[in-house]
């Protein structure tokens, strides 16, 4: 892929293909027939509350666990029938970062590289390259047990990348990190994602918006949504909210409210607050194009001046709540 960013995603080869994947633990159904595709070079966020089935899906994709029914292909190979081929092509960071605390970072990465069949002559160079990408160069000779949580997470990521996998699967790579570490790891994921297919799970909504091309939402073992942040937002949106800040005489507010309510597409008008001469109103409108000019006209007609008119975006929390609520019903 010479120029991944200029090519539409759909035309790229499929690197993860999941078809009606189901996993039961006794009576409990952890995954209930989910299907999705991830194209090469995509960064896909696996979103869902704790216990939604994200980890189970990832364990199946990385060949740690078998599926009860359904199939999954990763990098072109079936996870059940061609397990070794899949494992060679996947980098995996499990939820519990799999580290040997008594090893040096370098020795640990060398161990993983050898196990991952990196040619012996290349191991040293590969460790150095991976350490540079993951910001570990100056910690390569530290014992893993002496590293901070953030650095341990980096070692976990380095481990998942050392054999240059086609697909990288990361299970909650940012859990338990402080805000600075969080940003660093996210940047790292974005950096890695320029070259590789990444599937990573999280229950933090801001994270998917910050990092992912696409979101797959899982709830109670079912896939409830699959699309970009904008698509999901559009799907959930029932009404738009606009905040209007107008400056002028407080006596004119009642007049303004009346004029605004009379406009087509405006459903409700609420007075939020007044700070000095500035009055802020919340307008609830039908979704779609907004009567911006008409609103400005109404403000002027009431003898006020527009300071700000802003469309409030739905937060991911709103989207998520709406999606998971429909799934329950």
């Amino acid at each position: 892929m010479p120029e991944p960013s200029t090519r539409p995603t759909e035309s790229r080869p499929v690197s993860v293909e999941v078809d009606r994947l189901t996993r039961r633990y006794g009576d409990f159904t952890a995954l209930d027939g989910i299907s999705f595709k991830v194209h090469a070079g995509e960064i896909v966020g696996f979103l869902g509350p704790n216990g939604a089935g994200k980890t189970t899906a990832m364990k199946i994709l990385t060949c740690f666990m078998g599926a009860t029914s359904g199939t999954a292909r990763v990098a072109g190979f079936d996870v059940a029938a061609q397990s070794m081929e899949v494992r060679q092509r996947v980098g995996y960071l499990p939820e519990t970062v799999p580290l040997y605390p008594d090893m040096l970072v370098y020795d640990y990465l060398a161990f993983v590289a050898r196990m991952r069949q990196v040619p012996a002559a290349e191991v040293h160079q590969r460790i150095q390259d991976t350490c540079r990408v993951c910001g570990l160069t100056h910690r390569a000779n530290s014992f893993i047990r002496d590293l901070s949580k953030g650095y341990k997470q980096r070692v976990g990521l380095a481990q998942a990348l050392i054999h240059k996998p086609e697909v990288v699967i990361l299970d909650e790579p940012t859990s338990g990190l402080d805000p600075n570490q969080l940003v660093e790891i996210r940047d790292l994921i974005k950096e890695i994602g320029k070259e590789k297919t990444i599937l990573f799970s999280t229950h933090i909504l801001q994270e998917v918006a910050a990092v992912c091309d696409r979101i797959i939402v899982i709830h109670q073992g079912k896939l409830v949504a699959d699309g970009s942040v904008a698509e999901l937002e559009a799907r959930v949106r029932q009404e738009d909210r606009l905040t209007l800040t107008a400056r002028g005489d407080a006596d004119a507010l009642d007049d303004l409210s009346r004029r605004l309510r009379a406009l087509a597409g405006i459903r409700r008008v609420e007075h939020l607050r007044t700070q000095g001469p500035d009055h802020t109103l919340l307008l609830t409108a039908d979704p779609g194009p907004h009567p911006g000019a008409a609103i400005s006209g109404a403000v002027a007609a009431a003898g006020l001046e527009v300071v700000e008119l802003r469309l409030e975006h739905l937060t991911l929390e709103d989207i998520f709540r709406a999606l998971t609520a429909t799934a329950q019903g």
Binding site: K59, T62, C63, F64, M65, G66, M84, R87, Q88, V90, Y92, P94, E95, T96, V97, P98, L99, Y100, P101, D102, M103, D107, F111, V112, R114, M115, R116, Q117, Q159
Partner: protein
Amino acid sequence: MHAIATIARRELGAYFGSLTAYIVVILFLLMMGGMFWMDFFQGIPELGMRRLFADAPLFLAFFAPAITMGLLAEEKRAGTLELLMTMPVSDTQIVLGKFLAAVTLLIVTFSLTLPYALSISTMGELDWGPILGGYAGLVLLGSTYVAVGLMVSAWTRDQIVSILLGFFMCFALYVLDRVFNNSSGVLAATLEYLSSNYHFQNIARGVIELSDVVYYVSVTAVCLTAARATLAARRW
């Protein structure tokens, strides 16, 4: 083969990178040394290491599980088993790599008692047969106990449970031939055949018979297969 060696190498590095290996080796050598010198000073009128080899099976029943207790239990607890099991290596390779590492540690320990044999050989005409047999027996018996310990380690994520179960099973194998001491019959003969000590004492006499070797190899194979099956079961 490559993967087995890589796993074994990492495991040996972990043994010698922590205190475990040193404590196990030193304690084992102290006890073997004690046995040797008691033999030596109690004036048994023959040159040999009979006493040492007579008690070694009992000590090994306690030392082998100490070596193996963490091999899989700790990997399960720490989550590194998930790493191993998603790498392009088979469950069999994982089990064999671990087995090889523990057996190597035992062989290193045994070889450190060789100076005893060499020193008494300077004192007179030494019958090497029983001594070589004794060492061969130690390696066979040690491998068997390691396999038992490894199997038990695959069953739990708790190292204490692992070592206690390992003790129990190795000790049970050791005392099996004493259950019906001096009695005859099919049951007594069966128990005797299943006892690890019975075969060890045969070999330590300096006569290595196929049936004794078959016993150790088959118990080892059964336990390693069980360990592998326990790992494989985690996939389903």
